[in-house]
């Protein structure tokens, strides 16, 4: 991979994370447990969608092959997607959606905080703009984890189950590969492995307040950055890409 290709890949990782999670949140539309929460979830989804548009557009520009945000969003197949496995997991119940969200929000907060100091000014600008949104996202999801954990017996059980079910997906967020190392060396990217202690500490504080336990789960899965996804991503893409694939000559 050339340096330019690595930067494109790096930007796709960031943009794909936001887009796939935003797409998942869009599925909640009209179905949230409270109307206020319908609005909040849509709001967060909109933020994520906005981030992804900036990042995919930038990735396309760096690549220089004429691919814009839509070409990248609607004309890549599963193997070319770089989003975390965690984010393509189904919404499940509200507890599962909030567990997924908090795991990612806590990670993305640390990642973007570091990215706001990136030597790439465009990326630093996107991160700086996004960190305000992410601060709100993290507070929102953490508050729900606390409410559900320290709410009723039923909600406590559901929340703990959700946290346990998704724990095996969190570890790959902190993996460093060749692209990450190259971007780190250039001052563009972030040492995500180094973010783990701060992430663990944040999660533990929230779980303590929520009277929940840190999941004890022995399995873990990885591979999203090489395009090795779960079966869920294919269905997300089939739905999301339908119109662009069915009518390739159309402008919308």
């Amino acid at each position: 991979m050339t340096e330019k290709e690595m930067l494109v890949d790096y930007l796709l990782r960031l943009g794909d994370n936001s887009l796939i999670l935003g797409q998942r949140l869009a599925e909640w539309c009209g179905h949230a447990p409270i109307l206020e929460e319908d609005l909040a979830i849509t709001n967060i989804g909109l933020d994520l969608l906005g981030q992804s548009r900036l990042l995919l557009t930038y990735a396309g520009e760096v690549e220089g092959k004429g691919r814009d945000e839509d070409k990248l969003a609607f004309h890549r197949d599963t193997m070319a997607w770089r989003n975390f496995l965690l984010l393509e997991q189904p919404n499940g119940d509200f507890a599962k959606t909030m567990a997924r969200q908090m795991y990612f929000d806590a990670f993305q907060y640390l990642q973007y905080e570091a990215l706001s100091k990136s030597s790439d000014p465009q990326l630093a600008g996107i991160a700086t703009k996004s960190i305000k949104e992410i601060t709100y996202h993290r507070r929102h999801s953490s508050n729900w984890v606390i409410r559900l954990g320290d709410g009723t017996l039923e909600s406590h059980d559901k929340m703990q189950t959700a946290l346990n079910e998704l724990w095996g997906f969190v570890h790959e967020m902190f993996d460093m590969d060749d692209v990450d190392n190259a971007m780190l060396a250039k001052g563009i990217g972030v040492d995500v492995a180094a973010l783990r202690p701060a992430w663990d500490q944040y999660i533990e504080e929230v779980l303590a307040e929520a009277t929940l336990s840190r999941p004890y789960v022995t399995w873990s899965v990885r591979g999203s950055r090489e395009g090795k996804h779960s079966e869920h991503l294919g269905y997300i893409l089939a739905e999301m890409q339908f119109l662009q694939r069915a009518y390739p000559d159309a402008k919308w």
Binding site: L35, L46, E154, L243
Partner: protein, 324 residues
């Protein structure tokens, strides 16, 4: 402000007369003012139905949110649906000023006692339907709502002013989708025409029965809840929309539609009221699904709301204990 507190006790007839004088003088009625029970009930029915329509209306549009054809369209649609939810919230709050809780209103919706706009019982089958909903359904809604900005009940009138601003943005974005598709590939143009064919008549039905067949309207007009009759508003919508369809190069599915020079309005064909009643009474394609989606969201979310309440209660006790 409060007739009951400031005036000596009077009988209902006198109160009602004073109320009508106020309405006639264009003084807004506020939540704490005396009002006839029937006025209150009419408003609760109309406003809650309006709120329910906003919330149920999120479903047919949400049906295309995950399939929107570009990221920009997805973002715009998401923001629009969020607005609708916000309108619902705002209208539920305005209705609560009349002495009914949101839970009671939900209960009425879920048991079928309260209605929502029957247009949302039609399915969204193609992306052009999202354009048609914005253009026609929101367009019809605005026509109604502009009139409601001058409604005699203060909280409702104020809600309408706020909502109208956002709705006109929705209408424009819907029209813009239609314009893009009408100028697009032959397949897109066919989708746009098909959407117009399916949404035109239901949009006209949104204005309710003909004036000659709308017994409640006279009272609502007298109370200035309604400012213009169903047929007047429908005519206004037709007059505004026909040139827009012409600009799109699409055909409105009505053989009797033609400009009437003498009236200065478009003449149009008779609405199929059998179809209207049929869909209202449960025989639309999506009646059951729409209601089930709402009931499932509410009942399925009970444990979340219970948890939030239990947590808030614990927090209250903790701060009380800490203060002691």
């Amino acid at each position: 402000m409060d007739a009951i507190n400031t005036d000596a006790p009077r009988d209902d007839d006198a109160l009602e007369k004073a109320f009508q004088t106020k309405v006639d003088a264009e003084t807004r009625i506020e939540p704490k003012d005396w009002m006839p029970e029937k006025y209150r009930h009419t408003l609760i029915r109309q406003m809650s139905q309006h709120a329910h329509s906003e919330v149920v209306g999120m479903l047919p549009e949400g049906n295309w949110l995950t399939r929107a054809p570009s990221l920009k369209r997805k973002a715009v649609l998401m923001a629009k649906i969020q607005d609708e939810g916000g309108h619902g919230l705002y209208l539920y709050s305005a209705t609560e000023t009349l002495g009914i809780s949101r839970d009671e209103m939900f209960d009425q919706l879920h048991t079928g006692k309260a209605k929502y706009s029957s247009i949302f019982n039609y399915p969204t089958l193609s992306w052009a339907d999202i354009g048609a909903i914005g253009w026609l359904v929101d367009g019809a809604a605005i026509t109604n709502q502009i009139a409601l900005c001058r409604c005699s009940y203060g909280p409702y009138a104020r809600a309408m002013i706020k909502i109208c601003k956002e709705e006109s943005f929705h209408q424009r974005q819907g029209y813009e989708i239609m314009l893009t598709m009408a100028q697009g590939t032959p397949e897109q143009k066919a989708m746009a025409q098909d959407a117009l064919d399916r949404w035109w008549w239901p949009s006209l039905m949104m204005f309710g029965p003909n004036d000659s067949n709308s017994p409640q309207s006279a009272q609502s007009m007298k109370w200035k809840i309604k400012r213009q009759s169903n047929d007047e508003l429908r005519q206004k919508f037709v007059d505004a929309t026909v040139p827009q369809a012409e600009y799109l190069g699409l055909r409105i599915p009505d053989d009797n539609l033609k400009w009437n020079e003498e009236r200065g309005h478009y003449d149009f064909g008779e609405i199929d009221w059998v179809e209207f009643k049929n869909v209202v009474s449960g025989n639309g394609l999506c009646n059951r699904e729409r209601l089930k989606d709402r009931v499932d969201a509410h009942e399925g979310g009970k444990w979340v709301r219970d948890a939030a309440l239990a947590y808030a209660e614990k927090q209250k006790q903790r701060s009380a204990a800490a203060a002691a």
